[in-house]
């Protein structure tokens, strides 16, 4: 099975730590890399790092870039790589999104995976009390 590759791109060390947290949960994920961009990093240097990361995780079935925040530099640089069927970007990365990308059990198209990861990210946000304490829940 050809897995879709993933690169988490963030401000600071968030990307590295997020991938490492995901590895604690699901085991090693060689098809997902991390790129951390410092506040003062040169855009061209950062772009080169993302490009290398994309190459390192690609198995020919496309690469999904997961960035920390829409409008931020990591997203803006990542967006330069968007190409149909080859690279897609989903913003607002959280741990469930990385885990979703990590645990691929069937081959699928990049766009389909991008939509799945976007949905997973949104659906994984809860006000926890609503789930954890049934006595306080209004649902």
């Amino acid at each position: 099975m050809k897995k879709i590759g993933g690169v988490v791109v963030s401000h600071g060390q968030f990307a590295n730590e997020l991938v490492s947290a995901a590895e604690q949960v699901v085991g090693e994920i060689p098809h997902v890399a991390a790129v951390s961009i410092g506040w003062h990093d040169n855009v061209d240097v950062a772009k080169g790092e993302i490009e290398r990361a994309i190459k390192s995780v690609s198995s020919g079935n496309g690469v999904l870039l997961l960035t920390d925040m829409f409008g931020g530099t990591p997203t803006n640089i990542s967006a330069m790589f968007i190409k149909e069927g080859e690279v897609e970007v989903v913003t607002g990365v959280n741990l469930p999104m990385v885990i979703k990308l990590a645990s691929q059990n069937k081959e699928m198209a990049l766009l389909e995976m991008a939509e799945l990861v976007e949905r997973q990210g949104k659906e994984s946000i809860y006000k926890a009390a609503d789930l954890l304490d049934p006595h306080k829940s209004k649902a």
Partner: protein
């Protein structure tokens, strides 16, 4: 199909490490395995960690386990044992 109940007996509940063990164990079997939290009508595929985590099952909570497939008997026994053992955290 076999249906039964399991109880979360470890202190931390069905947290990430425990959920990972559930998924790992479930993946050893061909049968489809569903965990159900009845009070919230949450259905979880035991082979998907994000699905298992969405149960938010805490210490003391009972879940319904539903197993269906060629190896359902051994799958059911193995899964209930894992819950009984508190995911090795007791």
């Amino acid at each position: 199909m076999i249906k039964g109940r399991v109880k979360v007996v470890n202190r931390l509940g069905l947290h990430a490490r425990a959920a990972a063990l559930v998924v790992k164990r479930a993946a050893e079997f061909e049968s489809s395995i569903t965990l159900i939290r009845e009070d919230k009508s949450v259905y979880a595929d035991a082979k998907s960690i994000l699905s298992v985590l969405s149960l938010a099952a805490s210490n003391g909570m009972e879940l319904v386990i539903q197993v269906e497939g060629a190896d359902e008997e051994s799958a059911f026994a193995s899964m209930t044992k894992l819950f009984d053992e508190g995911f090795g955290e007791l």
